[in-house]
């Protein structure tokens, strides 16, 4: 039973890390709290449903959604950055209000086009991994593996590429980054697109495990905020560690007690972190 809880928690942790990483990147580089982040996740799931129905095949629909959904959501993110966030000069307070607006627009448009029902998407592959005491969904393990690969990809992008170097430089001092030829507005657009794309990818991966609906962005948004606050705003390492902390504890508490209790404890943990270490476990303490 403990092993099953640990497995479930690990899968949750990988997906959560993928979603929260986007939120953390956006906050770290742009200093923006993106309240619409959960809607990018929801869009990924809904687009996956459309791909599944358009192709009529679970595997091809999944592959199509994996390729197309992050791009479409990335484009929506770029347009939001270009025509909304840039217009309010990335002002922290204004962008919170603006992203709440983006949240409602995306949510209501999805409701109009997709409808209010929760819709299932068939898993692209089905197999069970048999352990001595129980069998476990092979697709869930695949989700964890693919999320892990994406996390490694983002890590390599950030640490080994010129774009990643520019993103980290912009995060630390955007004015001086400009004096070294960094087009900071394009960097902001790239970061917002990357964050949205990662959330959409998580949505595509998760939708065969749970159903797609227009309100499904709220819970991952809340959990991502918890993860990002615990890990330290803007800290990628902290975000991933906190995602595993929250994901695995959520898995264990949900199996032995109630999922609601897991969320309550996570929220309580955030309050404690904010009191003891306001900058989060790996973030800078506010001055």
């Amino acid at each position: 039973m403990v092993f099953l809880a640990l497995l479930d928690g690990t899968v949750t942790a990988f997906v959560l890390a993928l979603i929260a990483l986007g939120l953390s990147l956006v906050f770290g580089v742009m200093r923006i709290v993106n309240v619409a982040h959960g809607e990018f996740f929801m869009l990924g799931a809904v687009l996956s449903w459309f791909a599944y129905h358009w192709t009529g095949d679970a595997l091809w629909g999944f592959i199509l959604a994996l390729l197309v959904a992050p791009v479409i959501v990335g484009v929506i993110a770029v347009l939001s950055e270009r025509y909304i966030l840039r217009k309010v000069h990335y002002n922290p307070e204004s962008t919170i209000v603006a992203t709440i607006g983006i949240l409602y627009v995306i949510q209501q448009l999805t409701l109009m086009l997709f409808g209010p029902e929760a819709r299932p998407v068939e898993a692209p592959i089905y197999f069970r991994v048999v352990f001595p005491w129980f069998g476990y969904s092979g697709y869930k393990l695949l989700v964890a593996a693919m999320s892990g690969l994406c996390l490694c990809g983002v890590w390599i992008l950030m640490k080994r590429s010129k774009l990643g170097l520019y993103m980290r430089a912009t995060q630390q001092d955007h004015e001086i980054a400009t004096t070294f030829g960094v087009p900071t507005k394009k960097i902001y657009a790239s970061v917002f697109a990357l964050g949205g794309g990662l959330a959409a990818l998580a949505g595509v991966l998760v939708v065969p495990i749970r159903q797609a609906d227009h309100l499904m962005g709220l819970e991952p948004l809340l959990l991502s905020f918890i993860v990002v606050i615990i890990g330290g705003l803007g800290s990628l390492r902290g975000t991933i560690i906190a995602a595993f902390l929250i994901g695995i504890s959520d898995g264990i508490i949900s199996v032995f007690y109630e999922p609601t209790l897991a969320k309550m404890l996570a929220t309580l943990f955030v309050v404690m972190i904010l009191i003891i270490k306001p900058g989060g476990l790996f973030g800078e303490s506010p001055q």
């Binding site: 010129k162 170097l165 520019y166 980290r168 430089a169 630390q172 001092d173 004015e175 001086i176 980054a177 400009t178 004096t179 070294f180 030829g181 960094v182 087009p183 900071t184």
Partner: protein
């Protein structure tokens, strides 16, 4: 030639620079002196496009820098060493230097050349720049700007907080740049050193360019130094 023609700029409603005009030739060191708040750093930031100018033009040969986006200006060959170094503290020394290289797509040979000027940085390449000593940070800020292979370099108080030996190293680098035909616009508080390495000196007061002189003229008549910088003689 770097030509600043009648530029004015302001923060909010407060005018910080009024009608400033000056020229820096290739291989010339122009010292910019004035009291705190005179507008020296703002002038450098205006050239880099970090402060919006209200009027006037900034030209590099026939390129109008004041029409360019701020991130295009370094690509034209203008390097900037800001006051207080402003390194990227969480980036490694090597990554800070690469920021300079990437700005103009320069090769690793330029990096080797910059490191040859500051050999101590060679052993620190994998270290986070925020963990360097003050002197090493200034060397890195200078090397980072040199990695652009700039045609003109704007230096904002490069000797601030450094020990005398290191100040000499920085001034030696300025002289080397001068011999390599790089134009230097130098804002400094160390008057003696500035007079030694500069070809011309301009004085700024309350955002207005008050006087232009040469080190020779100032050694004969140091009055502008006491008037605009507050020193009795040109020894620091």
């Amino acid at each position: 030639m770097l030509t600043i023609d009648r530029i004015s700029s302001s923060y909010a409603q407060v005018k910080v620079l009024s009608d400033i005009s000056l020229k820096v030739e290739e291989g010339e060191v122009l010292g910019l002196l004035g009291r705190n708040g005179a507008g020296k750093s703002t002038l450098l930031k205006s050239i880099m496009g970090l402060v919006q100018i209200d009027s006037g033009t900034i030209m590099l040969d026939d390129i109008t820098l004041s029409d360019q986006h701020a991130h295009e200006i370094p690509k034209c060959g203008i390097g900037y060493i800001p006051q207080g170094r402003r390194l990227f503290p969480e980036l490694m020394v090597e990554e800070n230097l690469k920021m300079g290289l990437f700005a103009r797509n320069n090769s690793e040979e330029v990096l080797d050349w910059a490191l040859s000027l500051f050999p101590v940085l060679k052993s620190r390449l994998k270290q986070k720049s925020g963990t360097l000593s003050g002197g090493e940070q200034q060397m890195l800020a200078t090397a980072r700007a040199l990695c652009l292979q700039p045609r003109y370099i704007l230096m904002d108080e490069p000797s601030e907080g450094l020990m005398p030996k290191l100040i000499e190293t920085i001034f030696d680098i300025v002289e080397k740049l001068k011999s390599d035909k790089v134009g230097v616009l130098l804002v400094e508080q160390k008057i003696e050193g500035t007079l030694r390495i500069s070809d011309r000196i301009v004085f700024l007061e309350n955002g207005i360019l008050k006087e232009e002189s040469t080190p020779q003229q100032l050694s004969e008549n140091p009055e502008p130094l006491s008037m605009y910088v507050g020193v009795k003689s040109h020894t620091n």
